[in-house]
Symmetry: C2
Subunit: 156 residues, 2 copies
């Protein structure tokens, strides 16, 4: 298991496997090419036997210099519980800390209980919302499309 | 007509009008909330009578310090040919120049002839591709999904 910085050409290897990793959901629209082209220095890939088994796409916030944002983390379902996710998150935290980042943010959907558990377990706090869904604070209409989101923040 | 920096809360005003401006196409997935949250200092809005009539979402490339990227520009069809687009592009060029950016990039689809004409008219060059579509150089499979793209670059 080897972690390395994302390369632009990983785009061609990650996009074809994504939907499969997410149980058939159409996910590729979440990784537009501009993320690979412009934010590879804070994004990472883990390989095992030359196959990508995990990736993290994140960046420094350009508008809020003390913050960084994790957009998407994927782990091959066959390699869950091997520490792939935590290795990726820790690499991101270590990297963005060098750019004086103090807080890392990310979001998920209220239905994604695994993601909520995972993020709170690794030290993210849930940001106060405007209502509760299953006792979880959520932000309604977060992206202007009527979608609710759970917001996480972690001091690093 | 007044140009100003994008605000995070413009998200709630821009997303509901987008599909209409693009003739009914589903476009909102192209503007995830993280763009509003993290790149508002290089993104702009033009208002007329308190209505948003145009916007530009762009950012500095984090990985390539000499480059900036324009992700999406929208103009209300009722306000075409009023200089809304060129005002937005010029504001972006002026802003990113202050961060020592030397080149601005953007992409479009080969079918979008208006966009290709517009970008070449305002001084963008088309980047050499791996094949020609209607005599236009395109990059096949640019985003790993089998989609062809026309790539533009402009020195500023």
């Amino acid at each position: 298991m080897k972690i390395r910085q994302l390369k632009v050409e990983d785009c061609q290897r990650i996009l074809p496997i994504m939907n499969d990793w997410w149980g058939g959901r159409e996910m590729t629209h979440l990784l537009p090419r501009f993320l690979f082209d412009n934010f590879y220095d804070t994004s990472f890939v883990i390989e095992k036997d030359d196959n990508i088994i995990g990736f993290l796409i994140g960046f420094l916030s350009q508008s809020n210099k003390e913050e960084a944002y994790i957009h998407l983390v994927g782990v091959n379902p066959k390699n869950r519980r091997e520490g792939v996710g935590s290795t990726l998150y820790n690499q991101f935290f270590t990297t963005v800390k060098k750019s004086k980042v103090k807080r890392v943010r990310c979001i998920t959907s209220p239905v994604n209980k695994n993601s909520i558990d995972y993020h709170t377990n690794i030290g993210f706090s849930i940001v106060e919302g405007d209502k509760l869904v299953d006792e979880i604070p959520v932000h309604t209409n977060y992206d202007g499309k009527g979608n609710e989101r759970v917001l996480f923040v972690k001091s690093i």
